[in-house]
């Protein structure tokens, strides 16, 4: 027998009451393998105003490209203790920050490896269902062959690729632009 999925509704502005117990802004423990990166950005609405009541969740593979999930049956080591889940709220300036490790390459369609990426859900008042997007990494040659990036028209691909912040160590900038000029690519999943 088949059922129909329950409808999505907005998180509203008061989601901290339900979500703050599980805020995770540091994904990598000490001694964990992988390149340390901090992803920092802003969420901006159609008027260019910061969204101070958004929540971002991320899910990613470890440095070996392995997901901490039984659905990943690949013969690769699983980094002990790496959960791959992050959840942060924006501050009043629309800013969020996640300290993590650059993931390895996970398999994609046709067995072709995907470029390193983080999958992202965006929640906020005004969003009746969450938005889904991805974060890719700068100066990554495999971006050119990534099966998902290649689905996106070339001028918009840059919205999915974080930018190196000059003079910083491991700091990357990646913004969520909800509408208009530079609108982030969102996926229908």
């Amino acid at each position: 027998m088949s059922l129909r999925a329950t409808g999505s509704q907005t998180v509203g502005p008061y989601f901290h009451l339900g979500f703050s117990w599980l805020y995770v802004d540091k994904l990598a423990g000490p001694g964990m393998s992988g390149e340390r990166v901090t992803i920092e950005g802003r969420v901006l609405d159609g008027d260019g105003k910061p969204v101070g009541d958004a929540m971002i969740e991320i899910w990613q593979a470890d440095a070996h490209g392995r997901y901490a999930h039984p659905g990943d049956e690949h013969d690769k080591p699983l980094e002990p203790g790496f959960k791959g889940f992050g959840r942060v709220a924006t501050d009043e300036n629309g800013v969020f920050r996640l300290a993590t490790i650059k993931p390895g390459r996970a398999p994609g369609p046709g067995g072709q490896p995907q470029a390193p990426h983080v999958v992202v859900s965006v929640f906020m008042r005004g969003l009746l269902k969450h938005l889904v997007t991805r974060i890719y990494f700068p100066d990554e040659p495999s971006n050119a062959d990534d099966p998902v990036l290649n689905l996106v028209e070339p001028p918009r691909r840059s919205t999915l690729i974080a930018k190196t912040v000059a003079g910083s160590e491991g700091l990357l900038e990646w913004n969520v632009i909800l509408q208009g000029e530079g609108e982030t690519v969102f996926f229908d999943v």
Partner: protein, 234 residues
Amino acid sequence: MAEITGYRRPHWGTQPSYLHPTYGSSQRRSPTKPLVVLPHTLSEVTGPLFGHDDVGPNDNDLTRQHAGDPIGERMILTGRVLDENSRPVPFTLIELWQSNAAGRYRHKVDQHEAPLDPNFTGGGRTLTDADGRYRFVTIKPGAYPWRNHHNAWRPAHIHLSLFGPSFLTRLVTQMYFPGDPLLPFDPIFNAIPDPIARDRLIAAFDWENTTPEHALGYRFDIVLRGRDATPMER
């Protein structure tokens, strides 16, 4: 490599569009460009998992988080979490948040002129059991004004958040109460196009779980996306 089984796209009418003009906040926060249709990869069919270590034994009882009893109509909320293939979703995290009985959230942004309840915070969580069942004890939330339109009042509702087995099964929804006269006027409730799908957001009064001299019972079943029968990725 192993074949990946994707997830079914939601059935027409069950999910809202991003832009729902009568819900004012959606106008400047919904994407304007078409979404890019994504094939489901290992990145999407996996997702965060949570276990019993993450949830405390009383985290599902919002009436026992303070020294005193919260004010309002005590209620026991139970239900099952199933997927579209009618299979229970066991051991999945459900997070819940809500206003107090007077329609006020314990949040600095909520300036609604209704009293805060010192004995009610309004947040809880639990895991479904092996059969996909869950249970919360809480207080029935109140309606509150929200300035979306003339005389706008949100119907009483409880926010619920679920993960399910993958990134694709993530769901945040709201549960409403049967017989609420505010429902026909609420643009958020009405953003679900199909009236049958909309009515599934309304809990049922549950006489079996109503306990004498203590609490009213409500039942709310939640259906998460189901997997496709055919592998998506070869």
